[in-house]
């Protein structure tokens, strides 16, 4: 598993993928937080990082499928998957290794945004006037959300040998999981039904975490969605239908 993980992660670093992903994420979020007046913290006047946490997921919807789209699709297309799967590795080693490599890259892209937190911490009046538990909860939420998106992306990559198909499918599934259920719930006739539908979506649990309250139910939600997708990926891989 470690070998697959290391190979994948080195693959990101040795190609432009890692740098482009990190640069696009940081430049995009940086512009939104500091420059564009619509979303800028400086114009808004409140010391918080809401811009990062509310727009970050939308950036991830496109960035994470871009990271994961080649993980299985490309190996299948050029045949190297056969090479991997005839080495003494289990299918799990391959799936988990690939998932963790994209997960780590996503975390590496998020990490520098701690600088934004420190800046806003310093800019607060008085200094430090920021909802730190809320920020920590939001970071946990963002990382878990990124994890689910990675699992979606790896899964989408496993069902096709075409990277474009993989990317589009992953982006579609990510946005569906993120806000699709929320949109769907507005169609529900009753309030309880709407709530039930909302609870299937990521947004509901993500918002709950961003209040700074780490609820085990939300954690379980993220872990089970990612888990189901990873099991799905492994099942597709084990079926050898290509």
């Amino acid at each position: 598993m470690i070998q697959v993980f290391a190979k994948e992660f080195n693959g990101f670093l040795n190609s432009l993928i890692a740098y482009i992903v990190i640069a696009v994420f940081l430049v995009g979020i940086g512009l939104l937080i500091w420059v564009f007046p619509e979303t800028s913290v400086l114009d808004y006047g409140y010391a918080d990082l809401d811009t990062l946490f509310s727009l970050g997921p939308y950036v991830f919807v496109f960035l994470i499928p871009a990271i994961t789209m080649k993980s299985f699709a490309e190996e299948r297309k050029i045949g190297t998957l056969e090479l991997l799967l005839t080495k003494p590795l289990t299918d799990w080693d391959v799936v988990i290794g690939k998932f963790l490599a994209s997960f780590l890259l996503m975390i590496v892209a998020i990490l520098p945004t701690i600088v934004y937190y420190i800046s806003i911490f310093q800019l607060g009046e008085p200094v430090g006037n920021i909802d730190t538990p809320g920020v920590i909860g939001s970071y946990i939420g963002l990382i878990l959300l990124g994890g689910v998106f990675c699992a979606v992306g790896v899964f989408a990559s496993s069902v096709t040998n075409n990277q474009i198909v993989s990317f589009v499918l992953a982006a579609f599934l990510c946005i569906t999981f993120y806000s699709g259920f929320d949109a769907l719930s507005t169609l529900a006739s009753t309030g309880t039904l709407a709530l039930r539908i909302k609870q299937f979506g990521i947004l509901y649990h993500y918002e709950s975490l961003s209040r700074g309250l780490i609820d085990s139910r939300d954690l379980i939600y993220f872990f089970s969605v990612a888990g189901i997708l990873i099991v799905g990926t492994k099942t597709v891989l084990s079926s050898r239908q290509w």
């Binding site: 070998q3 697959v4 190979k7 693959g11 040795n14 190609s15 050029i78 045949g79 190297t80 998957l81 056969e82 090479l83 991997l84 799967l85 005839t86 080495k87 003494p88 590795l89 289990t90 050898r240």
Partner: protein, 305 residues
């Protein structure tokens, strides 16, 4: 270690790609696996390496079942898949190290094995290059080095020389010959000379079924089209030779040389000799024409087409 395939069947949808195939390879044996394209060679190999699960039947590699104990099987197998897939963005040495680590070789052993393989496969000058910049022949060597790196007891090579030029074929063949001394080797090929040069035994498969499994020497001898090449001291009319009992046809090969094709299963050597005596000419040469691998291959695989 041995490789035993028994009653292997692999079905894709409605197509029986491999149909009740059984054969086994003893330790130290090199077996050539022949068949037309699409006969099921690669599929059989993919099952034997644990990549595809069998639909029916079982494959035992070194005593381990490929379905029940895939990891043990994969550890002792060196596999070169068809089309030789490689990570093109990796460097040669990086790739060999990666493949070695996957197979459980590590530390200083990994480095020394990689050095040996680079030397053996003639990659010394190319070891620092990216695989994508290598020519087809060198890529094939990288694939072979990868398959050999962990010193596997069983080698499965799917068309190791396809797409190479004649010099490269000879070199790759030399490498295979060299490393296969105490290993069990199954390799597939289209090239008949290769089979004759490398192995003692061949398994021929057609449309998923085994049509021959024998020592090469037996197969070549058992060729019932085998004809006589004769040379007389004087001219003979071929029409008269056709009168010899048991002779089916006579072809003139040139200056008093003839090819005598007997009726199936009849030894006409004695009759030909008598004929020469009757005609009062001497028999300068008479030999049984050995069947060629090509003709056997064609005969066995064109049946029922």
């Amino acid at each position: 270690m041995s490789l035993a395939i028994s009653h292997l069947t692999k079905i894709f949808g409605t197509q029986r790609a491999v149909d009740d195939v059984s054969f086994s390879i003893q330790p130290g044996e090199i077996v050539g696996f022949l068949g037309p394209n699409g006969a099921g060679k690669s599929t059989t190999m993919k099952v034997a390496t644990g990549f595809l699960p069998p639909s029916e039947g079982e494959v035992k590699v070194g005593g381990f079942d490929v379905v029940e104990d895939p990891l043990a099987v994969k550890k002792i197998i060196g596999y070169l898949p068809e089309h030789n897939p490689l990570y093109l963005e990796m460097y040669v040495r990086e790739y060999l190290h990666f493949a070695g680590r996957l197979s459980g070789v590590s530390g200083s052993k990994l480095k020394s094995r990689a050095d040996e393989m680079i030397e053996l496969c003639g990659l010394t000058k190319e070891q620092g290059k990216k695989i994508e910049s290598l020519s087809k022949g060198y890529r094939q060597r990288v694939g072979l080095a990868q398959a050999l790196l962990h010193d596997p007891q069983i080698l499965i090579l799917d068309e190791p020389t396809s797409g190479l030029d004649p010099n490269q074929i000879l070199e790759i063949r030399k490498v295979i010959k060299e490393i296969s001394r105490n290993k069990t080797v199954l390799f597939s090929s289209h090239i008949m000379q290769e089979v004759q040069a490398l192995c003692d035994r061949v398994v021929i498969i057609n449309k998923g079924k085994i049509v021959a499994d024998d020592l090469l020497a037996h197969l070549l001898k058992a060729d019932h089209t085998s004809a006589l090449i004769v040379e007389f001291s004087g001219e003979v009319e071929s029409e008269r030779m056709k009168q010899i009992p048991g002779v089916d046809d006579v072809l003139e090969l040139g200056a008093r040389r003839y090819k005598v094709i007997p009726v199936k299963g009849i030894d006409v050597r004695n009759e030909v000799f008598k004929f020469a005596a009757q005609q009062n000419i001497s028999l300068m040469e008479m030999k049984v024409e050995e069947g060629s691998m090509e003709s056997i291959f064609r005969e066995l695989t064109e049946k029922g087409q």
